[in-house]
């Protein structure tokens, strides 16, 4: 699944670290990964450790699975988390009842092994 652009993200996740692309010219983070900073167009981008903290920007409780692979998991929460560093990302919220999730809820990253090579960053209430 990873490609040359995204490999550092997934390598960090395997070590249970959340990494973000960071522009050394304008000093801002971004996500999803890009080869050019979306804020200032610089190509001087490094991967840096993220705090792993943020808040729920929006969420939905999924009752109808997109494929059989997710059928056993319903109902589950797909959310967008606003990280302290600024970028948003899509994730699952775990560690609480789906109907307890609220916009603005403070969350922190944790990691879920998927069985394959991939370790997936997910979030839980702080």
């Amino acid at each position: 699944m990873p490609d040359p652009l995204t490999a550092p993200y997934w390598a960090a996740a395997r070590e249970r670290r959340l990494a973000l692309p960071y522009c050394t010219d304008c000093g801002r983070h971004h996500f999803y990964p890009r080869s050019i900073c979306p804020h200032c167009s610089s190509a001087r981008i490094e991967w840096v450790a993220a705090s792993g903290r943020g808040e729920v920007y929006s969420f939905t409780v999924v009752h109808r699975a997109p494929s059989p692979a997710f059928a056993a998991a319903v109902p589950y929460v797909v959310a967008i988390v606003a990280l302290e560093e600024g970028p948003h990302l899509m994730t699952n919220i775990i560690g609480c009842a789906p109907d307890a999730v609220r916009i603005g809820m403070r969350v922190r990253v944790t990691f879920r092994a998927t069985g394959g090579d991939v370790t997936l960053p997910v979030f839980e209430p702080m």
Partner: protein, 389 residues
């Protein structure tokens, strides 16, 4: 600005469950209906635009369609702005004509999305192939409705929009579909029916979501200067605009604001018109929340007021601003990419005064808006009736 292009013929295939037709057969039926409408033959067509289909892999779809229809075009291209492709084809046909590349362009799109293979496969491929990021979104299990549900949830949080207001969109558009003999779903529904339908991804229920259908649509575009030489009254392209503010939904920082703000402003500015000049708005309606956000972003009401705007039947038949009067993706039919093209055809019917029971009285200016991806790419058209040139 004086219009340069016009739509002079429209046609659609049977829409709904059409199990005995391939994507190419559906497109051919729509193309022939549009030619008959304009009083043209296939040999009069010297430009061809189409969109990708999801049910088959066509290398260069425009070449596959040209070959199937027996066209030897002087200009051809495959347009892909996902759900905004239909509106964009009409504008890009006009640009090709203005550039002198061709004179009479067939725009055609559609497929057998419902009857090709299992419906579950179609939904899965839509979730995995386009709308969700393969690495950063698909692993979390989003279905297309759940991606739009994120928009709805945020809109409710920021502006107090309610499930009942979203349900009013579904009810209004179903009422329009009931007046369209070619619509897939025509039985009336109530707000209670919507609120009691199966939860798909909170807050969106089954009847907040578009249906899946078979069908194809076609339109023929020529220069405004020739537009009166054909069988039917022309619909003039008064202005068009595009917008894109993000790729995937997970990276969009303001979920309640879309590129429709930009596409709408550009289209109104080019046409020299304002939202209050629009008699009928054919808005892309993949989900009920989409219509509410578009009403705001296109300037029909202020940001956050879309939920209140749709209350009391304002967008229903006979309302102050009838919206998506053929019944849209929620009820008339959604054959995937190209589903939004039916909105453009309906705008033409309204401007000609040929919309039958659902005719908006004296419609002179129509807006048709297409939305692609997950509120990602947008194209807005302003079209004018025969007297607007």
């Amino acid at each position: 600005m004086k219009p340069e292009a016009a739509i002079i013929g429209i046609g659609e295939s049977k829409v709904g469950q059409v199990p005995d037709r391939s994507a190419l057969q559906l497109q051919a039926a729509a193309a022939q209906a549009a030619l008959a409408d304009a009083g043209l033959r296939m040999t009069d067509i010297d430009g061809l635009l189409t969109t990708p289909v999801r049910v088959e892999h066509w290398q260069a779809p425009c070449g596959a369609v040209a070959s199937h229809l027996g066209i030897r075009p002087a200009y051809l291209s495959t347009v892909d702005l996902a759900g905004a492709s239909g509106a964009a084809m009409v504008h890009q046909a006009g640009m090709a004509i203005a550039a002198g590349q061709c004179s009479t362009v067939l725009c055609v799109a559609g497929q057998n999305l419902l009857s090709h293979g299992a419906r579950a496969e179609a939904v899965k491929s839509m979730a995995e192939s386009g709308s969700a990021h393969p690495q950063f979104e698909v692993p979390y299990g989003p279905l297309v409705p759940s991606l739009y549900a994120l928009v709805a949830q945020r809109h409710m949080h920021e502006y107090g929009t309610t499930s009942g207001q979203m349900a009013e969109v579904a009810v209004a558009i179903r009422r329009h579909a009931g007046l369209n003999p070619n619509a897939h779903k025509r039985d009336p529904i109530t707000v209670d029916d919507v609120l009691r339908s199966r939860m798909i991804a909170t807050p969106l229920r089954l009847l907040d979501c578009a249906i899946v259908s078979d069908g194809a649509a076609a339109a023929i575009v020529t220069s405004a200067s020739r537009a009166r030489d054909f069988r039917r009254p022309p619909a003039y392209l008064l202005g068009a605009g595009y917008g894109a503010r993000h790729g995937h939904i997970g990276e969009h920082k303001r979920l309640t604001e879309t590129g429709a703000i930009d596409s709408g402003r550009a289209a109104f500015s080019r046409a020299g018109l304002e939202p209050s000049d629009v008699d009928v708005a054919e808005l892309y309606d993949c989900f009920t929340i989409t219509v509410i956000v578009e009403l705001e972003d296109l300037g029909f009401c202020r940001k956050g007021e879309g939920g209140r705007f749709v209350e009391g039947g304002r967008i229903a038949p006979g309302g102050e601003l009838p919206v998506t009067t053929h019944g849209g993706l929620l009820s008339a039919g959604h054959p995937g990419v190209g589903g939004g093209f039916f909105h453009v055809l309906e705008a033409v019917r309204q401007l000609r005064g040929e919309a039958g029971e659902r005719q908006v009285p004296d419609a002179e200016v129509a807006l048709a808006h297409g939305n692609g991806g997950v509120i990602s790419v947008h194209c807005t058209l302003l079209l004018g009736g025969p007297d607007t040139r």
